[in-house]
């Protein structure tokens, strides 16, 4: 179980995160949603062990996180800067497995190919990232994260820079990954619809100083669909509720 306890983070005089306490239950898809500039990425980097908090702590299975834990993978927003342009798609996905002594080479290449097939890149394995569209590049970094076999998958606004249709495809890909792999997913986004559509739970952040405004359970069924789910009364209720929270309006529901 991943927990943050009274986490704060300042960069010099600038306070990025005021005080955050939250839990990310095992096997659940938790979305963190908040206005832009509220410190979502900073929070995620603290969760990943890439940034040291100024106060409070991040706990993974009751152990304090001080460096990136082996059980975690992270998908960055900026796929074009997170993939290695001198490696093929296959090599990019296989790269984190190179140092894994417990795995045989055959098992490694099987894992890599399975991950690439499950994100729909079976035909692009031997191409270079820059030969692919933005959506396919982000699929590559998702495949890299899956092949790493983490218990916890962190995602930092992963679909913020792809077009709307690709975004819908990738959202459905995430639902399939959650179903097939059953890992804990922490998904940061500024898109309210996306957070309701994907999440089992939503952590709503407020800005300056950043705190948790509310934690919502999403009462939608496991199987979701871009058209019918997004027209479901529960979806619309949650969407409106989160919207009002973030826009500082009095919640109507």
């Amino acid at each position: 179980m991943l927990r943050v306890e009274s986490l704060s983070k300042s960069f010099g005089p600038v306070t990025a995160i005021g005080d955050i306490t939250a839990e990310f239950p095992e096997g659940k898809f938790t979305c963190i949603v908040g206005p832009s500039g509220c410190g979502k990425t900073t929070l995620l980097k603290c969760l990943a062990g890439l940034l040291t908090p100024s106060g409070g702590q991040v706990l993974l299975d009751n152990e304090k996180v001080v460096k990136p834990p082996r059980k975690m993978a992270l998908v960055f927003q900026d796929y074009s800067r997170s993939l290695f342009p001198w490696m093929t798609v296959r090599d990019n996905v296989a790269f984190p497995l190179r140092g894994r002594k417990s795995m045989h080479d055959a098992a490694k290449s099987q894992t890599v190919e399975k991950a690439l097939r499950s994100v729909g890149l079976a035909d692009a394995m031997d191409r270079y990232p820059w030969q692919l569209s933005g959506g396919m590049q982000q699929r590559t970094s998702i495949a890299r994260a899956i092949a790493y076999q983490p218990q916890i998958l962190l995602m930092d606004e992963p679909f913020a820079s792809v077009d709307a249709q690709t975004r819908a495809d990738l959202e459905d890909l995430m639902l399939a990954i959650k179903r097939d792999y059953g890992m804990t997913i922490v998904f940061v986004t500024h898109d309210i619809d996306e957070s309701v559509y994907l999440g089992d739970r939503i952590v709503v952040l407020g800005s300056s100083p950043t705190t948790v405004k509310e934690v919502l359970e999403v009462g939608l069924s496991e199987s979701r669909d871009q058209v019918s789910t997004k027209a479901h009364p529960e979806f619309l209720r949650l969407r409106g509720h989160v919207f009002n929270e973030i826009m500082h309006r009095t919640p109507t529901a």
């Binding site: 980097k45 900026d78 997170s82 001198w86 190179r98 270079y128």
Partner: protein
Amino acid sequence: MKSSRIILITLEIVTPLLLILAYALWAGPRGDFFFPSLDKILSTFWHDWLGGLVATDIVPSLYRTLAGFALAAVLAIALGIVLGLSRRARIATAPLVEFFRALPPPALLPLTILVLGVGDTAKIMLIALVCVFPILLNTIAGVAGLDPTLRDTARVYHISRADVLFRIIIPAALPAIFAGLRTSLSLAVIMMVISEFVAATNGIGFSIWQAKRLFDIPSMWAGIILLGIVGYTLNMILVGIESIVLRWHRGARAAAR
């Protein structure tokens, strides 16, 4: 696309040919001692440089140039990676590096003649000394400029130190390193010629100087033309290697446009 490529290649070939033709038409009827006719220069070039002088003068010059350049490349890339990785080492050595970089390279020639003598070793050392700085500075910039997202990616996925160095940092710095290598290669040719002007018993630079002293003007021109061809060829070879090694970089840049 294809026809425009043919036009570009044609332009590249035709322009120098036109200039050569212009020289031939201009110099031929003049009979000027310092600007001999084209056929005189070319026949000297043909007999001297493509005959006996290949072994006695071209080979020694190429050896000095390439040995100095290679020595500089190895030292500068190794040192550049160390300095690029450590901000403190970079700050500590910055004044020294900037000083030597600002020094006009031939200024070091009297020193190397006094300390190292006039043999091949001295010439190679001088060429290496001058070639080190462009490669060093570019390597430092390339290594220090590694994208922080790539660094974070390596940390998240627990990439080993050796893999970070050889499979992330060095490939990422290669475009900058090659820019340094190209600058240094032309410096290597310049320093080869200068060092052979001042103190040498063979080499292309020596031959040009010798021809000047004997007022053998066509031979002097032939040597100058040879130097141009040598410099051009060396650069073409380096650019060829670069385009193979950095195929991904060209592709990535073209895709970003």
